[in-house]
C-alpha cells in the first residue's frame, strides 16, 4: 500500500510539473472535494457495517481525548527539537509544528510575523501531509492502529481519514475523525499562542 501511495503522489506531482496544462489547477480542488466526499461515504459504510464499534467507542469514553492531546504535544515537541537542530528559536519552530499538517491556515497565521517563516510553515506542513500519507499504512502495521492516527494530525478528519480507515479498522477511523476535529480546532489557537511566546 505504501509504495502505491508513494507512486500515486509522485506520478501526480510529476504530471503536474511537466505534463498537464496550468489550467488544470483550477479543477483540482473540485476533484479533490468530490473524491474526498466519496471516500468519506465509503468510510461511513465501513462503520455502518461494523455497528459494534459504537459500543466500543462509548466504552473508551473521554480517554479518546488523550490521542489528539498526545499528537498536539508530540508535534510541538518534535518541531522544537528540529528547531534546535536547525538553529531556529522555539517560538518559530513550535508554531510550525502547531500547524499539525493544516498547511493553508498555519502559513496564513504565521504570515504577519514573517513571510519566510510563512513559506516554511506551508512547506513543512505540506511535507507532513505527504509523508503521513506514505507512512500511515506502515505505522499501522508495525506500531499499532492508534499510532497510525498521529502522522495525519489535523488532516485525520478529512484527507488523512481514508488512509487511516484503509490501514486500520472502523473503530480507529472514528477515533481518527474525532482526533482530527480536535487538532483542527486547536491550530488557530496554538499557532499564534506559541508564536508570541
Amino acid at each position: 500500500m505504501t509504495i502505491r501511495i508513494l507512486l500515486a503522489v509522485v506520478i501526480g506531482a510529476l504530471m503536474g510539473m511537466f505534463i498537464l496544462p496550468q489550467g488544470t489547477l483550477a479543477y483540482t480542488d473540485l476533484v479533490i472535494d468530490i473524491g474526498l466526499m466519496l471516500l468519506l461515504f465509503f468510510v461511513g459504510i465501513d462503520i455502518g457495517l461494523n455497528r459494534s464499534v459504537f459500543g466500543r467507542i462509548k466504552a473508551i469514553g473521554f480517554r479518546i481525548l488523550y490521542i489528539p492531546l498526545a499528537i498536539i504535544i508530540g508535534s510541538i515537541a518534535g518541531s522544537a527539537v528540529a528547531g534546535i537542530i536547525l538553529g531556529m528559536p522555539f517560538n518559530e519552530a513550535g508554531a510550525i509544528g502547531a500547524g499539525l499538517g493544516w498547511y493553508t491556515l498555519s502559513s496564513i497565521l504565521v504570515a504577519t510575523y514573517s513571510s519566510q517563516l510563512s513559506a516554511m510553515a506551508f512547506i513543512a506542513n505540506v511535507t507532513r501531509e505527504l509523508i503521513a500519507f506514505i507512512i500511515i499504512p506502515t505505522v499501522a502495521k508495525k506500531l499499532g492502529f492508534l499510532e497510525a492516527i498521529a502522522p495525519a494530525g489535523a488532516t485525520a478528519m478529512d484527507t488523512g481519514l481514508p488512509i487511516v480507515s484503509r490501514s486500520t479498522d472502523p473503530e480507529t477511523a472514528i477515533i481518527a475523525f474525532i482526533s482530527g476535529v480536535i487538532c483542527t480546532s486547536a491550530v488557530p489557537v496554538l499557532v499564534p499562542l506559541i508564536l508570541n511566546l
Binding site: 501511495i5 466526499m37 461515504f41 462503520i47 498526545a70 508530540g74 508535534s75 513559506a119 505540506v126 498521529a150
Partner: protein, 96 residues
C-alpha cells in the same frame, strides 16, 4: 471550517446509515475495499498534481525543502511517540 466539518459528518453518517440499514450485496461488500483503494489512489494522484502545478510550492520546496523535511520528520515522529506513550500509560499497551 464549520460548514466543511458538518458536510464531512453528514457524508460519513449517510454512509454509516447505508452500511447499517441497506442490504448491500456480498459482491459489493467484497469489492468495497478495492473500490476504496482505487478512489484513494486517484485522490492522492490529484493531490500530487495540485502540489506539482503550484510553482510557488515547487520553488519553495527546492529552497527550504531540506529544513521542511527535517521539521516534518520530527513532528511526525514525536507525535507517534506521544500516542505510543499515551497508549502504554492509559491502556498498558493493550489497545491495537
Amino acid at each position: 471550517m464549520g460548514t466543511r466539518l458538518l458536510m464531512y459528518l453528514v457524508v460519513i453518517m449517510l454512509g454509516a446509515l447505508v452500511g447499517a440499514k441497506a442490504s448491500l450485496g456480498d459482491q459489493l461488500k467484497k469489492r468495497l475495499g478495492s473500490i476504496q483503494t482505487s478512489c484513494l489512489l486517484f485522490l492522492l494522484g490529484v493531490m500530487g498534481i495540485k502540489v506539482g502545478m503550484d510553482q510557488g510550492v515547487v520553488d519553495s520546496f527546492f529552497q527550504i525543502g531540506y529544513r521542511a523535511v527535517v521539521m516534518s520528520i520530527f513532528t511526525i515522529s514525536f507525535s507517534i511517540l506521544g500516542v505510543f506513550l499515551v497508549k502504554r500509560l492509559v491502556t498498558g499497551g493493550g489497545a491495537k
